[in-house]
């Protein structure tokens, strides 16, 4: 289906697809086993300038928006949703700097990210602060021109691999929602270490680690936005990047659909290709329709964000919710089309099913997305009176 992409958007899509097929496909099964970080794919993304998507040209990027970020994430995820995260999570970690960074902060951090010399990561989640980000324990105590960070962030994608970290910490607990602040941290700062790499169900080629702060001294010039804006930084960032997770989900689902369709045209039972059986045809039709619907919602939301719409929380939540539920359903059905073979690691669909699950959980569980959608709907109705 032609989504009316510009020539530049088509170029980005072509480049991402080329990297997915030439660089991801040969290593995806092995990395799913070993979990070794896909630095060679990062190198290719850098060569193609795709690490600079979303970063202004004056900071070394190519000045794309949310749609370009989604197109790239989707293409990379079609082959491997895990490897794609090295790219997508860097987008998440960079977004607070893009949205709230001063010119000086942008000059300092964005060129290296755009050039692919450094990856980025976003540190919000903690052991006791998942959906309830207010339960955060990590503190940043003011000490002259510095803030002293103490605490542990959990399940941070690109943790240990990224060079630049956007981290939210409590600066004044008494102020509640206005009591958190956002900081830019660099790998190798004294007092900043990493926990062990997590052993995950899916997206195993991505690195997930704890960020551990023990009297980590951060200069006040590293603060993003003003003191007390930490939760605003986090929420605005997530509103912008949720379509990226949705795009990852669409990619994973499309990859599973491609595999199922291909297999159905090879596999014979009862003397015929299983693609000639209506039972299989209807499954594939439903899968394809759901993937396309999810894709439409992702692109529409990305375009709304790029056109400057500020009220995108609801759409952003809807596309993440719908695309990730679609990914789970479509990958499960792909395994079903494959039958017993689909359950085996010789074929890629069981991995896709494992990869899909996380999209319903991270960057806000789908239950939280439903809360966001409902609250926005109620607010909209109330505002009409």
């Amino acid at each position: 289906m032609d989504y009316g992409f510009t020539e530049e958007q088509k170029m980005i899509q072509e480049l991402a697809r080329k990297i997915a097929i030439e660089k991801e496909l040969p290593i995806r099964a092995e990395r799913d086993e070993t979990g070794e970080f896909p630095w060679e794919v990062v190198k290719s993304l850098a060569e193609a300038n795709l690490t600079g998507i979303g970063i202004e040209e004056k900071y070394g990027g190519i000045g794309g928006g949310t749609l370009e970020y989604c197109i790239t994430t989707e293409e990379l995820s079609t082959v491997c949703g895990g490897i794609a995260l090295a790219f997508a999570a860097t987008g998440l970690g960079t977004m607070p700097i893009i949205l709230f960074g001063t010119d000086e902060q942008k000059q300092k951090y964005l060129p290296d990210i755009a050039a692919g010399k450094k990856l980025a990561a976003f540190g919000l989640t903690e052991a006791n602060a998942g959906s309830d980000a207010g339960g955060m324990q990590t503190t940043a105590k003011k000490d002259g021109d510095y803030f002293i960070l103490n605490g542990t962030k959990q399940w941070i994608t690109n943790g240990g691999e990224a060079g630049t970290y956007s981290v939210i910490a409590i600066t004044d607990r008494k102020k509640g929602a206005r009591g958190a602040s956002a900081f830019i941290l660099e790998k190798d700062m004294p007092g900043f270490t990493f926990g062990k790499k997590e052993n995950k169900m899916g997206i195993r080629a991505s690195a997930t680690r704890e960020l551990v702060f023990q009297d980590c001294k951060v200069h006040k010039s590293q603060m993003l936005g003003k003191e007390g804006m930490g939760f605003i930084v986090a929420m605005k960032t997530l509103d912008r990047t949720r379509p990226g997770i949705a795009a990852q989900a669409v990619g994973i689902a499309q990859g599973a659909l491609n595999e199922a369709l291909k297999y159905s045209r090879q596999r014979e039972q009862f003397g015929a290709k299983i693609s000639t059986f209506q039972a299989v045809q209807h499954m594939i039709s439903d899968m394809a329709t759901q993937v396309e619907a999810a894709r439409c919602l992702v692109y529409a939301t990305a375009r709304a964000i790029d056109s400057g719409s500020t009220e995108t929380s609801k759409m952003s939540a809807m596309c993440k919710l719908f695309a990730s539920d679609t990914a789970m359903k479509v990958t499960t059905d792909a395994v079903q089309v494959f039958g017993g073979y689909g359950y085996m690691k010789e074929y890629p669909v069981e991995k896709m099913m494992r990869d899909a699950k996380i999209t319903q959980i991270y960057e806000g569980t789908n239950q939280i997305q439903r809360n966001v959608i409902a609250l926005e709907l109620i607010k909209e109705m109330a505002a009409k009176k």
Partner: protein, 260 residues
């Protein structure tokens, strides 16, 4: 440092078709790709330029649609590209092709290094690179897997069948490269934008001062008489029994065939 890279558009690897009447490649309706070894040649040139400075010019002799292959090289970071295209070049063998490319390079002017892929995957002759160096009267080093340049002297690591050979050669020179030399880089978005508006000059026989009787079919001393797929070799025979029995059976078979 001025580097010229010669590339060729070839049919996608799995779809080589031959016109049985003319014994030439059927190009119509077949997807064209840049000869894979030539991609390594371009990468080698770009790496040398990035290290030593200078300019990389890519040339190809081919039909007008070969301009797309040249645009793709601009997206990789090549500085200039020239299409050498003329109806008069049609039917060139490796001699005439070498002559034509060498004439083009003479027209370009000063160069330090010429890089070609070790061979094209359609014709597989591996003759054009060496041929170009002969016409230009410069040294050639084939099957390069590594190069190092210091003060106008190039040290080349040649990948031979069961050994490596290191040779030194003075520039200007021509090398042909093998795929183990490097991993070709990805095209870049900025390069693609540049390629979109790039104007690729097209040079014909007159532009490169080529002599009529040296180009095209007329200038080709060789012609392909026949192309065929050899019949598959029969399967071997495995002898059974004790060692003595097997040796006796083997010797008998060899004697029957008058091998010994």
């Amino acid at each position: 440092m001025n580097i010229v890279v010669c590339i060729k558009q070839v049919p996608g690897t799995t779809q080589v078709k031959i016109n049985p009447e003319t014994n030439t490649l059927i190009r119509e309706g077949v997807e064209s790709i840049v000869n894979p070894f030539d991609e390594n040649a371009i990468e080698a040139a770009l790496q040398l330029r990035d290290k030593h400075g200078g300019k990389v010019t890519v040339i190809t002799m081919g039909p007008p649609q070969a301009v797309n292959a040249l645009k793709d090289t601009i997206a990789l970071g090549v500085d200039e590209a020239i299409l050498v295209s003329d109806r008069a070049f049609a039917g060139s063998d490796t001699w005439a092709t070498s002559y034509t490319l060498a004439s083009t390079i003479k027209k370009i002017g000063a160069f330090d290094l010429i890089i070609c892929g070790k061979q094209a995957i359609d014709g597989d002759t591996a003759q054009v690179g060496p041929g170009v160096s002969e016409f230009l009267k410069i040294p050639q080093v084939t099957f390069a897997v590594g190069v190092e340049i210091n003060n106008g002297v190039m040290k080349v690591n040649r990948l031979l069948e069961d050994t490596n050979e290191i040779v030194e050669v003075k520039l200007p020179a021509l090398i042909t490269v093998v795929k183990q030399m490097n991993t070709p880089r990805m095209p870049s978005f900025k390069g693609k934008i540049k390629a979109k508006s790039a104007v690729i000059p097209q040079w014909g026989a007159k532009d490169i001062n080529a002599e009529d009787n040296c180009i095209g079919q007329k200038g080709s001393p060789t012609s392909v008489v026949k192309i065929f797929t050899p019949p598959p070799k029969g399967g071997g025979e495995i002898l059974h029994g004790s060692v003595d029995e097997m040796v006796d059976a083997l010797v008998k078979k060899l004697r029957d065939r008058k091998v010994c």
